[in-house]
Amino acid sequence: MSEYTGVRGTVWFRAFTGRASPMLGDPNSVLTADAPLGKDHARFLCVVPDPHARFPCARHGEVGLEEAFTLATRIREVIEQDKNTIKRPIVAIVDVKSQAYGRREETAAIFLAAAAAADAYGSARLAGHPIIALVVGHALSGAFLTHGYQANRILAFDDDGVMIHAMHKEAAARVTRRSVDELGKFAKEIAPMSYDIRDYAKLGLLYKLLHVENPEEPSQQEIRSVQAELVGAIADARTSPVDLRNRLESKEAREMRKASILVRTKLEAQWLEN
């Protein structure tokens, strides 16, 4: 299983924007920049570890109060600036180990901070901004709900260091009262429980899996090819509905989320009966 290092986000943010610094007044843990992407000027956002963060439980790459509210304000800024012009694409580079688990965070309502970031991403999508999430490392639980999961299109690297999951293995084993080994066995057989990105791809939620030899040290050629994929995803998002129905309409989802599709069909039929 992959270890979270927190370096991938910075590497890819720099690859796309040529820099790796926060905007003026922002905490060091949130990188924001506008940079050319195809014919667009896109806004790139990334959460990175800041060992000196003000909140002690958010110093290792967790998404905490400051990170979530900074993301929210930087996205709302784009919605406001592009109100009467072409809607800038927003690219969330995702490599986040978890939400911040702390008492201060709970007291100051981290649930609202996280909701505010998701609100900003979702509102930007509804306003017509193509939102693309590029998962370059970890995308776990509340952190992914906060940063990336409201995207029109989700792309991820086909790499052992990439993990999208509801809870890290040790915690999931504790909560479900299984051993880590036992959980691993279930995880192999049951696609939604798997920690393998290739199994995640079977759920139909991804737009594309991209291959990069070493995501911590991409070549110029690889960076260009990932950029081209982002441009393709943006074009696809622009010609599609602004909701998330594509996640349920994919070929994989029709196989793996049969129950979801049946729920929708039956509920709609009963809704209309009077």
């Binding site: 008492r103 007291t107 309502a109 649930f111 995640y200």
Partner: protein, 291 residues
């Protein structure tokens, strides 16, 4: 509203918390107007639980009802905390999301329809892990779409509380209604203790837990819109009030700059006493000043 905690006398209360999800949902509608959709006889069960030796439930712990509240069309979705901790699985999640999408479509067709979500949940059902997480992301997207047209009201009444990813869904609500017994937070005390130690959060300290996550604290700090007793008529009255109130001018979760400034002003060098926190948090927009 004037019935904050002192309305009904304790003896005459009709407990809402003691009702199951189906009874709770029914109690919120105008009498005789509600009907259940995708009920237990439709047997929409989790396909993933039996594979893991866990008995599924015929409604997957999620009750969807359509009817009228305060004379207006409304849908109520209630999670059953007694089944798998009210967790979000593929089926329960899709029931909730699809119901909100149908309400949204009705609004777009000119038929105003509100939504009430009854949350008794620890978040993602870990046996369905990634489909549960995806369901929450999609639910959040549907709340955002619906609340442009009609209010989405989240009610937390019982002691299961609302945690994990579902706390983000609650964060997107137009209005939040809580009892003193209910809790709302992203990470439960046990999870925090596991991740960052007992010094960070002592999960056996019941008083501390309710002082931070409890309905009263959330209401006083402006994070919930109404505090109600565990009394069915009072809760139904609060829901009618917010259905009638309509869409708020600005949703709480859209006020990023306001809250970002508040966070910036907090001294993070030590832990906070929840009571003292009320004072440094409540500068504007909180219910402390409204009282």
């Amino acid at each position: 509203m004037s019935n904050n905690g002192h309305g009904a006398s304790f003896i005459n209360r009709q407990s809402f918390i003691e009702l199951d999800a189906r009874e709770r949902a029914t109690a919120l509608f105008d009498p005789g107007t509600s009907r259940e959709l995708l009920g237990p006889f439709d047997r929409m069960e989790s396909p993933w639980l039996p594979m893991q030796g866990i008995t599924p439930q015929a409604d997957d712990g999620c009750v969807v009802m359509k009817g009228k509240i305060a004379g207006q069309a409304a849908v109520v979705v209630a999670l059953e905390g007694a089944f798998q901790g009210g967790s979000m699985g593929e089926v329960s999640g899709e029931k909730m999301t699809a119901a909100l999408d149908l309400a949204c479509a009705d609004n777009e067709k000119g038929m105003p329809t509100s939504a009430v979500i009854l949350l008794e949940t620890g978040g993602v059902r870990l046996q369905e892990a990634n489909l549960g997480l995806a369901a929450i992301a999609e639910l959040m997207a549907s709340i955002l779409a619906l609340r442009k047209h009609a209010p989405v009201i989240c009610l937390m009444a019982g002691t299961v509380g609302c945690f994990g990813g579902m706390s983000l869904a609650a964060g997107l609500a137009s209005y939040i209604v809580m009892t003193r017994e209910a809790r709302l937070g992203m990470n439960g005390p046990e999870v925090i203790e596991q991740e960052n130690g007992v010094e960070e959060f002592d999960s056996s300290d019941r008083a501390l837990i309710w002082a931070i996550h409890g309905g009263e604290q959330r209401y006083v700090t402006g994070l919930a819109d109404e505090l109600v007793d565990d009394d069915t008529p009072q809760i139904a009255d609060a829901i009618r009030h917010f259905v009638s109130k309509g869409v708020p001018a600005l949703h709480r979760s859209s006020r990023a700059a306001l809250y970002r400034n508040r966070i910036e002003k907090l001294d993070t060098s030590g832990q906070w006493d929840p009571k003292e926190f009320r004072a440094c948090w409540a500068t504007n927009g909180s219910n402390e000043e409204k009282r």
